[in-house]
Symmetry: C2
Subunit: 155 residues, 2 copies
């Protein structure tokens, strides 16, 4: 079955190239971005300013070839793309938790961002620790992997 998704806004960030974009937002608290929700959706932002953190959903619009299992930014061993956050995946949907600094009408200023500049936004949900934190969760294969520079030529 196929579904159609419509862009609802645009994410702007300091990261113009994949190489400059951090692996995860939590690694770069200084990454500032701006989320422009299209004005026709402004009403859908009501009370979002009560949250300190929000989750952005977007399209990896510059992702490369989809390979189902491959080495990742954090590991040279192959992992299935559903076992990693790799951008080149069937249905290239990205998810980033960012800090909401300020809302002005349909514009959100955010920090801790790890998204490429000019990325199509498709949804926003509040980050709610009450619902989203799992105290007993492990880090799977990511445990102990150092946040490192992206390996050369690795999509």
């Amino acid at each position: 079955m196929k579904f159609e998704i419509t862009q609802i806004g645009t994410i702007f960030s300091p990261y113009k190239t994949k190489d400059s974009c951090p692996i995860q937002g939590i690694a770069t608290p200084e990454g500032l971005g701006r989320v422009e929700v299209f004005p026709e959706y402004e009403e859908a932002l009501e009370t979002i300013e009560t949250f300190s953190h929000i989750i952005l959903f977007y399209i990896f619009d510059r992702a490369g070839e989809v390979i189902l299992s491959r080495p990742t930014f954090l590991d040279d061993i192959s992992h299935g793309v559903f076992a990693s956050r790799h951008p080149c995946r069937p249905n290239g949907i990205g998810m980033s938790i960012v800090k909401l600094e300020k809302r002005k009408r349909n514009i959100l200023e955010v920090s801790e961002i790890d998204v490429l500049d000019n990325t199509p936004l498709i949804d926003i949900k509040p980050y709610v620790p009450r619902f989203d934190y799992r105290k007993n969760a492990n880090n799977g294969w990511v445990e102990g992997k150092d946040i490192r520079e992206k390996p050369m030529n690795r999509e």
Copy 2:
């Protein structure tokens, strides 16, 4: 801009109706489900079994009318749909963190599920507390709201 999303599998759960479906999975650890990833994507699951928790992305295929700001399951005051997890939203994409009990090839047995039976799956990502936990995050307007029965006739 429009994007096309393709179903990659199906989520099965004990919840046949919206009324029976819990508000959040964390509220019903006993909710058992089965995720059948289509066999052609099995390779994309490699090493997923190293994670205790995974994030399911799916389509709210039985959601009602999209109203940009509305009362929610947890509150009788209106909130913008981007400030809530409400299923009736522009681009009806759902996200649920579930506990991965077991993988057998392309079949995942999960618990803590809050998804309607027979829901189209569109992506899976690992839940990684190292990346996904924000210690200083607040609960926004959700703070102090009791998990309650879904109000009658509320979509």
